[in-house]
Amino acid sequence: MNKHNIAGPTKVRWAEACTIVLWMASVTPSFAAAVCNPDEAAPGVSATEIKLGATMPLTGSAAATGLGAAAGAKAYYTMINKAGGVKGRQINFKVLDDQYSPAVAQQQMRTLVQRDEIFAVAGGEGTPNFLAVVPFLQREKVPAIAPYSPASQLGTMKTPYVFMTSVDYITEFQIMARYVIDTYKPKKISLVGVQGNVGDDAKKGIEQAIGSGGTTLQYIPEVPGTPDFTPIATQLRENNADWTFLILTDTDTGQLLQAMHRIGYSPRTAAWAGMDDKNYIKPFGDVSQGMIVAQETAAINSPDPLVKQFVEQFTKETGRAPGTFEELGWAQAEITVKALQEAKALTRSCLMAALESMSDFQTGIVPPIAFGPDRRQGVNAIGLVEIKGEDTPQVTPFTEVQSQ
């Protein structure tokens, strides 16, 4: 495994706050291990095809992430279909645009489940948009496989139908902050995070890393899309922290760093996994040198044979080179197909049972995946990289972390 990353923080507004409250009230508190029932009705499965679906941001400020993930997944399913599909059936993968909006995601997921009658949710990208549909998926008992939504509310048996393959932001920022504190011993840390659960989770992670140590933390919530970052840059300069941690959209991250640079404040920086991507480094690399970035997926140029195989096959299917989010989508699809292949029958309960029995599944892109009857966090490791020039060499290898 080597480096690379994923998706975007988000817009957390009143609609999402309400969604989270409803979500907390509606999730199932307990769940017995899945028992495969081959005779139950199987929506979305016919003699010739298996319908899968996901919602992602395909338009709007976070579109780059969703478009990449969708392209990666579609390329993988195309390859599988050319090879005969799964259990003699073609994969019919449908992606609907949720615009990164919880409200739109709810509508689109209802369309996928109730009108299109998908068999399972395969992948997905974005935190608030996916969190918004979790209560519905729980009620409808639709399995969701490997969505990229690193929220601390997911990955436990409180949401048994959701199988996570990304580490939540609390853990991600705890690991990153611990590395910074141990290595650089900063007296002050600032954090700028998307207002709501994304920023709050990152704050909790840093606080856990600080523990009873003497490092102080300044937290500034942010709402995406501000036309002027000077006030927030001035606030940061006023605090004069040694390190600034960031969990914002890639555009806002770059724009804030530019504003900080313009007013003469250039602390060391650390950011969530989305900044380890060529689409960020190309426009904003000049103000991001030395940035420590969480690493959740292998580097595109990794020597790992599985990653090389991915790059080769993706390029063959699409005629272009992949990026980080294409890599993510490819891995999500690969995990989904593996579960379908391993299912004793194409019913949702059998798919759940197959996922629960998945152990040490190697994609080469994300760390080895293992679920269980009471385990929904399939991956629990991250690495760290540093932006140097246009490259992102690894500074710490993927390390297994303890569940919070």
Partner: protein, 293 residues
């Protein structure tokens, strides 16, 4: 720690932002005063010109000055075509312009995403890397240029609209098109020209903002929302109130973000709007005849 240097820094940043708001707002005022139309596609129009200039110098290697000129030209063309092909053909009822330009906004945004991709791109520096002051207070050339442009457009625009024959023709065409036509003013041509000229202002504003932020298909949306709010507060059929509002809301929002955090900026702005609408005597609002604005 709060310091006078930080206070000045925030104020100067807000002033530069407000100046660019004023540049963009002038185009909106021009269009509204001559044709009574609201162009919600105004922001994406500037975005497309900016993106076009970016593509021309970065992908096709054209000289920067030439790429910028073509980018402005693209914006002018889109603005003029909006009037020629869409606005002119609408029935006179109020509201159609709003609906069709909202549709155009969505179309242009989707077009930009399709042609240029969804990722943000770093635009020309446009003096952002030229320090003017750089001790405790940092001011760069782009800030100075923004303020100079904002003040020049505000004063120059007032002069043109109120003290030239062109301004008289514009106001005559807006007040009573048929009378203006009867005295020899080419009202339709004048309106299209006003739309085209508005493109210059949004293109310049969009390019200046792109230098401070970056360019993608969506970056002009929050900017133009703030500009329309300034227009609404001041009244689009007036001149100095909306122009001063452009400066005022940028300064106000900068301070709100500085004092209450970045997440406080948007709520603070809408609180201001509510307070103004509640506090300003209804008589003044009614006199504007512009509830739709």
């Amino acid at each position: 720690m709060f310091s006078s240097a930080n206070a000045i820094q925030v104020t100067l940043g807000g002033l530069a932002t407000g100046s660019l708001y004023a540049v963009i707002l002038f185009g909106i005022i021009l269009v509204f005063q001559v044709s009574r139309s609201i162009n919600f596609a105004y922001g994406p129009t500037g975005m497309l010109g900016t993106f076009a200039s970016y593509a021309l110098y970065s992908e096709f290697g054209l000289p920067v000055w030439f790429a910028v000129l073509i980018g402005i030209g693209v914006t002018v063309l889109i603005a003029a075509l909006t009037d020629l092909l869409i606005i002119r053909r609408l029935p006179p009822q109020q509201g159609f312009d709003v609906v069709v330009t909202l549709g155009e906004l969505l179309f242009l945004t989707a077009l930009a995403q399709l042609v240029f991709g969804a990722s943000a791109q770093s635009y020309l520096k446009l003096l952002t890397d030229v320090p003017v002051l750089s001790r405790n207070i940092f001011v760069n050339g782009n800030d100075v240029l923004a303020v100079v442009l904002g003040v020049a457009v505000a004063i120059g625009g007032y002069f043109v609209l109120n003290s030239t024959s062109l301004g008289v023709s514009l106001r005559a065409a807006a007040a009573d098109p048929s009378v203006a036509q009867s005295v020899g003013i080419n009202v339709r041509g004048l309106r299209t020209a006003a739309w085209a000229v508005s493109g210059v202002f949004v293109a310049v504003g969009a390019m200046m903002f792109a230098a401070r932020l970056s360019v993608n298909a969506f970056y002009m949306t929050p900017i133009v929302i703030n500009v329309f709010i300034a227009g609404m507060i001041g009244g689009l059929d007036r001149y100095w109130p909306p122009m001063l509002s452009a400066f005022g809301i940028a300064l106000y929002q900068s301070w709100a973000m500085y004092l209450f955090g970045e997440a406080g900026g948007v709520p603070a702005l809408f609180i201001l709007v509510i307070v103004i609408l509640a506090a300003v005597p209804k008589r003044l609002l009614d006199e504007r005849h512009e509830a739709r604005a």
